[in-house]
Amino acid sequence: MTTRVGVEVSIAIADAVKLANPDVIAAYPITPQTHIVEHLAELVADGELDAEYIPVESEHSAMSACLGSSASGARTFTATASQGLALMNEVVYVAAPMRLPIVMAVANRALSSPLSIWCDHSDMMSVRDTGWIQIIAENGQQCVDNIICAFRIGEDNRVLLPVMVHLDGFNLTHVVEPVEFPEQSDVDKFLPPFHYPLPLNPDRPVAMGDFAPPFIFTETKWAHEVAIRNSKAIIIECWNEYARAFGRQYHPVEKHYSDGANRAD
């Protein structure tokens, strides 16, 4: 049985994160992402979600905390928007080649200037080449489904990459939509526990994110490139399994009245 409710999409995302049962959430509030992290902070404070909520002092710190959390093998979530994404840019680049699965919701908002809190995709474009997997959601249901899928895709040991889920600021974040929530027991079956292959562990020390001379740098970048290319098949596999479990099917590109068209722009 699933429950279909009318809910603000930001709240729905927070509830989807709760269904994924994360260990650590590190985030800094910024319009129009605020309701997502506020609701998550509330869930943790009320004891409804057993996770560490780290109220950091900036987005740069948020993503830095996420790196450490993911490196220790903890399921990790954060969310941001616009200037926040720009401020954490340096660390966004660090996460992907270090192959640290982190799920981040981005409430797309224009970058200054002029200062705007409204939606455009300039923030998303600024991180296009960071080597994260990026999923762009069209409605509240897609947000909920793909937040859950994002954890499974990123944490899959054949992938091990961070994943962004983009949604339009205000046009989605602050809109009340009908959303079907999967049952917790079904999500638990769909989303296996996260096991990082070489986590930070005092009993078996490793060094992460080290200096690399050029011959190691290029090979590391290529390993990352191969992982990104190989992830497509695993993303599709995840979506197919999601369809079997929950009845909603996703595709890399969704067609809209375009069957038989000679070109689509």
Binding site: P97, M98, R99, L100, L160, P197, L198, P205, V206, A207, M208, G209, D210, F211, A212, P213, F215, I216, E219, T220, W222, A223, V226
Partner: protein, 98 residues
């Protein structure tokens, strides 16, 4: 992890280029871009070890006879040892193309 430059490919790296064993940077030949090298007149050497203390690379150790000498695998030819060596054992000379 493979430690020789020519042998290494992306398939040999741990996930995210994680390093499992400490001290792996020892295998990197960091002295390749030296433009000067230290030469020694060990007749003057009093084995005080000041050169080793001042060496920013930490690449100077006593040789078999107890005289302090730079390991050219790592030495970058900065010349600090030559400047600090007050008995004037060390002279920096230009590296020439082999």
């Amino acid at each position: 992890m493979v430690t020789f430059e020519g042998d290494l490919t992306w398939k040999d790296l741990e996930i995210g280029a994680i390093i499992e064993a400490p001290g792996s940077a020892r295998s990197y030949e960091s002295g390749t871009w030296r433009s000067q090298r230290p030469t020694y007149d060990f007749n003057k050497c009093i084995k005080c070890g000041l050169c080793a203390l001042y060496c920013p690379e930490g690449c100077i150790e006593p040789n078999q006879d107890g005289y302090f000498e730079a390991n050219l695998f790592y030495c970058k030819g900065c010349g600090i040892c030559a400047r600090e060596c007050w008995p004037r054992v060390i002279t920096m000379v230009e590296e020439k193309e082999q």
